[in-house]
Symmetry: C2
Subunit: 508 residues, 2 copies
Amino acid sequence: MKHALPVTREQDFAAWYQAVISEADLAEESGVRGCMVIRPWGYGIWERIQKLMDARIKAAGVENCYFPLFIPLSFFEKEADHVDGFAKEMAVVTHHRLIADGKGRLIPDPEAKLEEPLVVRPTSETVIGQAMSRWVQSWRDLPLMVNQWANVVRWEMRTRMFLRTSEFLWQEGHTAHATRDDAMSETMRALEMYRDFAESALAMPVVAGEKPENERFPGAVATYSIEAMMQDGKALQAGTSHYLGTGFAEAAGIKYQDQEGGQQLAHTTSWGVSTRLIGGVIMVHGDDDGLRCPPQIAPHQIVIVPMLRDNDEDAAIIAYCEDLAKALGALDVFREPLRVLFDKRPTKAATKRWGWVKKGAPIIIEVGGRDVAGGNVSVLRRDRLYNEAGKLDSAIMARDAFVSDAAAMLEDIQASLHAEAKARLSANIRRDVTDKDALAAAFNGDKPGWVEVEWSKPTGDALDTVVEWLKGHKLTLRNVPLDAAPASGACIFTGAPATERVLVGRSY
Amino acid sequence: MKHALPVTREQDFAAWYQAVISEADLAEESGVRGCMVIRPWGYGIWERIQKLMDARIKAAGVENCYFPLFIPLSFFEKEADHVDGFAKEMAVVTHHRLIADGKGRLIPDPEAKLEEPLVVRPTSETVIGQAMSRWVQSWRDLPLMVNQWANVVRWEMRTRMFLRTSEFLWQEGHTAHATRDDAMSETMRALEMYRDFAESALAMPVVAGEKPENERFPGAVATYSIEAMMQDGKALQAGTSHYLGTGFAEAAGIKYQDQEGGQQLAHTTSWGVSTRLIGGVIMVHGDDDGLRCPPQIAPHQIVIVPMLRDNDEDAAIIAYCEDLAKALGALDVFREPLRVLFDKRPTKAATKRWGWVKKGAPIIIEVGGRDVAGGNVSVLRRDRLYNEAGKLDSAIMARDAFVSDAAAMLEDIQASLHAEAKARLSANIRRDVTDKDALAAAFNGDKPGWVEVEWSKPTGDALDTVVEWLKGHKLTLRNVPLDAAPASGACIFTGAPATERVLVGRSY
C-alpha cells in the first residue's frame, strides 16, 4: 500500500507533521522568522473554527471588541508578577519611521525614537484591564464579558508551524465579575465550552482539568486546560481558562461600588484558544495520506472531481456534476448548509483526487462517463480510504441514494473520527503506576501515552523538586482531570497521603 | 426640540463626530497613542461589514489567507518606488526581549537586538508578492486571487477615530494575472464590488472613478476609488482598487511560463476597505441624536424595550416582549435572519430608549402595560425620529401588524437612508464652474460640496502646479468619475482642450 506522503508517522512523526502541512497546502514558511503564511485550506479551517467558536462565545453573552496591537512598556510594569513570569520574549517597537541611509538601504530613523517603547501584544490582560477600569463603576456594570479575535506575538526561539509560531491567531476572552464565585463559574464555563468544542467540532477528545501551580498563567490564581493526545502519545495543551483573582483588577484599577455603597475589586478571568488547534487536528486525525479533516471544520465537506477525457462525453459529465453540486448544496448538515465544491480546475482527475485526499476533504466524489450513464457516483470516504485488502475503497452508489445519504454520511465521518481518537486516548492513559521508577519506565517505549498518578499536590520547593525530576525524564505535569477518581494511596513523588490524581506526559 | 447629543452638526461638525462615537459607544481612546478601542457596538458594525463583504469576495473566487504581521526591511528595499512613496512612517521592531533595568523599570534588552529590523505591515504587497512568486509557476496557476482580513499600522501624527488611526482593521485583496486585460478587469471588478457594497449595504452613495496620477498608490499604474460625501460636504475616500502593472511582480519575482513556454511577468492588483467605512457611515447617516445605523449593518435591527414599573404588570410585559422577540427572530430580512434584541438590562426604560437612539438601532419597540392590554407595540423608526411638530414620532401599531410589516419596514429604512444621502450627494456636486477663481469661490461657503470640472489631465510638473494651487485653497482632486459626461470645453487649470471631468473637493 503506497501512501500519498513522502514519510509515514512511523518513520518520523515530526517530519510527517511537516509533510502534512506542506502537502495539504495548509501553511508554509513565510521568509519572516517564526511567522507562517496560512494558505487557503488552512485558513478555511481557521474560519470554520472561528465561526463555530464565535457562536458559542456570543451565546454566552460575551461581546466582541477590538483592543490595540501595541502595549506601552509601563502597562507591564504595573503587574510585576505578570512581567517576571513570562513577558520577556516579546517584539518591541522602538522607532516610528524608516529613512534611507544614503547607501540605498533603509534604517530606523534615529530622530524618530519612541519616548516609550511599545510591545506587540503577547496577550491583552493589561490593555483590556485598563479599558475595564473605565467601563466598570457599579455592580450594575458586572459581569463585563468581552472577547477579541486577534493576532498576538511571542518571540519563540524554536518554532513549529501552528504549534509554536512567533505570531499566531487566537481569541482571548476577558471577563470581570463582582465575586469570586461568579468569576470561577465563568472560568469553568469557558473550560467546558472548549472541552465541548474540541470534542464535537474538532472530533478531538480532551481531558479537562486544573494545571498544577508551576504551569499556571503568570499572575493567575488558577489555570485550567484541555489536553489532547497526539498520535505519538504526546500531550497538546489545546485551550486554557484562567481565574485571575483580584490581582489584575488591582493592577488596572477595576473597582466597583457594591449595593451597599462600598468599593470592591472585581474578580477577573481570561481564556483563549489559537491556531494551535489546527496543529492538534493534524496530529490527532492525520494519516499517512495526509490530513483527515473533521466534516464540521472542513472548508469543503464534499468535493466532486469530474473524470474528463477531452471527448464528447465531457459536457454530459460536467452537467451531471453541476446538477449534483446543486442538489448537495441545497442540503443541511450539522444545522448549516452543506459545503460542496465542484472542482473544475484544468488538472488531471487523479492529481485532483490525491490533492483532496491529502487535504482531507471528508468525501470525494468521482464522476466518469460510466457513472453518468448508470446514474451513479463513485464515493471515497476519507476516514476509511482503503479496504481490508489495502486497496482504495471507492464505492459506486446510485446518485440519488448518495444525495439522500450525504448528510448522514458526513455525520458518520465526524463521529467515526471522534470514536477512533477517543479509543486511542482511553487506551493510552495508564493508571496503574505507583512508584517513580515505574513512572520513568512507562515512558521508555514508543508512543508511551500518559500516566495518571496519585499525588499530594506539593507546592513551593517541594513542587519544584517534582518538576525537576520530571524534567530530567522529559516529562511534564499536564493537569488534574476534573473527572478523575479520588486518590486513596500515597503520593508517587513525596510518599505523603495523596489528595488527587494528576496526568503526567510528554508534551508539545 | 432637544437632542440627545451635547453638540449639533451645525455647531461643530468635528466635535459632533466625536460625540457620536462616544455617546453611541462605538469606540474610545485606548491610552496607546493613535490606537483606539473598538467597543461592542462599533465592532458589531465591523463584523456585519466583514460578513457582507467577505461573501462578495468569496463569490468572486478570491480565497482568504493570512500573511505575517512583520515585514523585514529588505522587502521594502526591493521596491524603491514603494519605499520613496509612502513607506516611511511605520512602526519598527528592533528588539525581541524586555528585561528589567534593575531599577524596577523594563527596557528593550540591548543583547536582543534584531539583526534585521522588522516593520509592522502598513500594507502587504511585498510579503504577499514573495509568496505569490512561490505559488505561480505556470499560466495554469493564474489568476491567483487571495485576500486577508488583518490589522495594519501606519504611524499617523494626527489621528481621528475610524478615519485615521495608527492601527486599523481592513481587508486587502491581492491578485496576479497573466495579462494586463485580466488584471484591469479584476481591478474594475473590485471597484464595482466596493461601489455596490457602499450603496446597498452601507446605504452610502459614492462616486467611483480613477484617481489622478498624484493620488495613486505608490508604485501603482492606476488607482481607482469610491468617494463618499459627508454631511459637511467633504469627501471621504472609502475604498481603493489598484492596477499595479508588472512592477510589483518584477520586484517580487512573480513569473509564469506561458502556453508557448516563454517566461512572463504577472500583472498584479490590490484593493482594500477598512474600519474607515464606519467613520463614513457616521458622517453620512448620523444626526443630532447620534448614529442612524443602516439596517443591513446594524448589529441589532430591532430592539425591544420593556416599560417596567416594578409592579404586578411586569411579568406580563416581559412575557409579551419575549414572545414578540421570538416572532421577530423567526423572520428573514435581506435574506438573513432578522436580528432582534430584547433589552432586559436593569436600567430605566427612558435611558434605554435614548441609548438605542444614540446607537442608531433602526427600530425601537417600547412595550408598556397598556400595549400589552391592547395587543399593541409602540414603534420608533430611527430614520424619522420626530414628527412635523418636532415631537418624538412613536407610533402605536397592532402587534401582529408590526410583525407582518417588520421586514418591509427595515427594508424601507435602508432605502430611505440611501435616498436621503443620494439626494444630498446629487444636490451638492456643481458642474457649472469653468474658471479657477470661480472654483476657489465655490468653496467659500459652508458645506460647499464638490465641483466637477473639465480638465486636460496634466502630468508631471504641470500636474504639480495644479495640485499646489488646489492645496493653497485646501482642495484636492478626488477622482475622474467613471460615469462622468465627456469633456467639451477648456481645461479649468491649463486652458488646454479638456479631455475629461474631475471632481474637486475638500477631503478627510
